[in-house]
Subunit: 264 residues, 2 copies
Amino acid sequence: MQNKPLIFVSNDDGFDAPGLEALVRVAREFGDVKVVAPENPMSGVGHSVTSREPLRIKMIEREDGYERYACSGTPVDCVKLGEQTILKRKPDLMVSGINHGSNAAVNIFYSGTMAAALESAIGGVPSIGFSLMNFRLDADFSICDAYVRTIIQKVMEKGMPRGICLNVNIPSIPQEEIRGIKICRQARSKWVEDYEKRIDPSKNEYYWLRGKFELMDEGRDTDDWALRNNFVSVVPVHFDFTAHHALDALSAWEMDAVKEKQRT
Amino acid sequence: MQNKPLIFVSNDDGFDAPGLEALVRVAREFGDVKVVAPENPMSGVGHSVTSREPLRIKMIEREDGYERYACSGTPVDCVKLGEQTILKRKPDLMVSGINHGSNAAVNIFYSGTMAAALESAIGGVPSIGFSLMNFRLDADFSICDAYVRTIIQKVMEKGMPRGICLNVNIPSIPQEEIRGIKICRQARSKWVEDYEKRIDPSKNEYYWLRGKFELMDEGRDTDDWALRNNFVSVVPVHFDFTAHHALDALSAWEMDAVKEKQRT
């Protein structure tokens, strides 16, 4: 049985989230599955890592070809600690999710689900983050099955192109209305905040985050467009943040020359 | 006085960090300064955002042309809440830091300092993150002054190229040894973890994060190379994570075809 692929699963909604269960169900068709997921919901924690507090990890269940652990840290902690202490060897595939709610467009920045996939990918593991565009606790994740299966299968068959991971978002509509899988770029967008101010019983002000998604992109090749048009979006994501196109423009600023002038 | 530029400052080391004070000192040469920084040190929180707990913000000091606030949230919360409640209008410049320790290479992923700069840049504000490669509490931030001044001056003069912010790292060496400013790309690198396992008084295991930086990049055009060779590194950072070069390769996978075959 040593030839079975080893698949590492994590998420940001926590070790007992239904989206995780849905992802594990499909992942187990492809190999042995080990899950290390946060003890508590960790939505929106981005690439946060825990260094000032110690981490704990505990087994939740273990059966033939499947183990599940809960970790006290963030999704990125789960990847780092899980890969070192639970997995022992580099997994053949890492899948993260299935997240409750969109990680398309600018949402990728805040996403713990995608941070886990990115962290694993930085370490050289083929990684995929999956999200279903539905925040409801009773969301029907079974509509994801066919797409999760297809994409995992393709990645295992073709190998992940070097230096990337995949950000997969699935529209929450009846399966027969999904028009297929679309390879996309990340839509330019932002959240415009509008905090709600309240007064606590001690008469102190506090604020609740409240925001509105703003699309700044007319392209028909974006993940946002694909999802609005009933496609599953797949964005290849890399972890070189350099704006290569801007290197020349900045070099032309000749900042050292300025410095020299200031000195004389 | 309404024509004075408005400069927004944040960081991840907290509202009372010496690096913040050093940055404010230079920023005030360029305009009115408003600081919204975390109440508590928030190193390593990445792009984390607070939505399940309310946020609080309190004034620390106010004088002519300068205000400083502490916010209960993360660096990204400081930017979001600060820009809406304290700044009232879009700032002319946002600067983040000066961070204790490197945010070059893969460190940008975990950095709250750079997350704050990125968050502000996503919102359309010219933004710069500054870091000094020194973790010591008594680090001498004055060696940064000339470089912070030069770079702010150039950005205000030339305008920030669209869709980017700057990740500036400064080596912690005597000023006369710094060879100048170098425009670079982010070095390919990763942290290899080696958690330290301990046993608590109740006989339960816990783990402390411990890692080793691993460079996977021989280039002489990287931030890591520049810093090792006594240059100040400036990386233009963008917020489109799409691996554009991989779009064609993935499209060639024809994942829909696979899906259709499975259906029939």
